[in-house]
Symmetry: C2
Subunit: 173 residues, 2 copies
């Protein structure tokens, strides 16, 4: 079933494509009517997010990286020389909760904390060689398994449109 991205802006009818008999009145799940729940954007957002995260974790089992850990490694790699506060706040992680997370990553020798010379309060974060290797493998797994499958299900154009709208929500909402 293809998602009609360019479907005419028929707001009142969300156009649940043509597979159901004409009298099908409402979305169901296991014989239970979903009511206006299927029109609630937040509900669909959460369900979709859980599924996507599940698949991400599944694709990462060999490397044992959670979505949060992956994003941390990615950010440290792209922003060498940043301290914990900067990396954490960028990801919406509170500083106290970031400590245990870094303990884990540093314990696996994927990154290191180095006392800054300029400001000896702060810890500069850097990836180790092992961290860079794992990150590279993780990126490949994400691209070839996770995102590739998203592309299959959604189609490239829809995937791009979805990404843009989600970014809009996170930015302007």
């Amino acid at each position: 079933m293809t998602v009609s991205r360019t479907a005419d802006p028929n707001v009142s009818k969300p156009a649940r494509a043509a597979r159901e008999p004409a009298d099908a009145p409402e979305a169901e799940a296991g014989g239970i009517r979903m009511g206006e729940l299927s029109e609630l954007l937040g509900y669909s957002l959460k369900r979709a997010q859980l599924r996507v995260f599940d698949d991400f974790i599944r694709c990462m089992t060999s490397l044992n990286l959670t979505p949060a850990q992956f994003s941390v490694l990615l950010l440290i790699d792209r922003n060498p020389g940043r301290n914990q506060t900067e990396i954490a706040s960028t990801l919406g992680i509170l500083r106290p909760n970031f400590v245990a997370m870094l303990d884990g990553l540093e314990g696996r020798e994927l990154c290191v904390r180095v006392r800054s010379a300029n400001d000896r309060r702060s810890h500069i974060l850097m990836l180790t060689d092992k961290g860079r290797t794992i990150l590279a493998r993780a990126k490949k797994l994400v691209a070839t398994r996770h995102e590739a499958r998203l592309n299959e299900v959604l189609g490239p154009a829809n995937r791009a449109a979805l990404l843009e709208m989600l970014a809009t929500l996170a930015r302007d909402f």
Copy 2:
């Protein structure tokens, strides 16, 4: 692995643009490069979901209903005579965790558990009059404040397209 800046297919972008110079190379947040994070669908999904939920809760402060509570009331209303297992599993809530939730709703006299005559193990769930009243007010708040604002930010056509894609993800992914 380039971040395609506005390849943007048919979706009309809700007015934001024109602030970045034409050579803007990469998404940033507080001077920190996001790297391929801005291309990760799961990441954007989570950030967007958190924002939308925040707004939902904000719109519901007067009624004190969480997204989960709202969806439970909605489902009970649309499916009278169902028991806890059926309602919970439809929402992806585990039965043990559903108990405390119902305790809360029943304590506020929004719904009741009634022993089933057919199967005296199960509890039939029904809304009270107060529950129906609150639900009606909640629906109105969601429509006029929450979803209305989503419509403003995304535009009606985009909102419908987004909803359809999220449903696709939750269904076929």
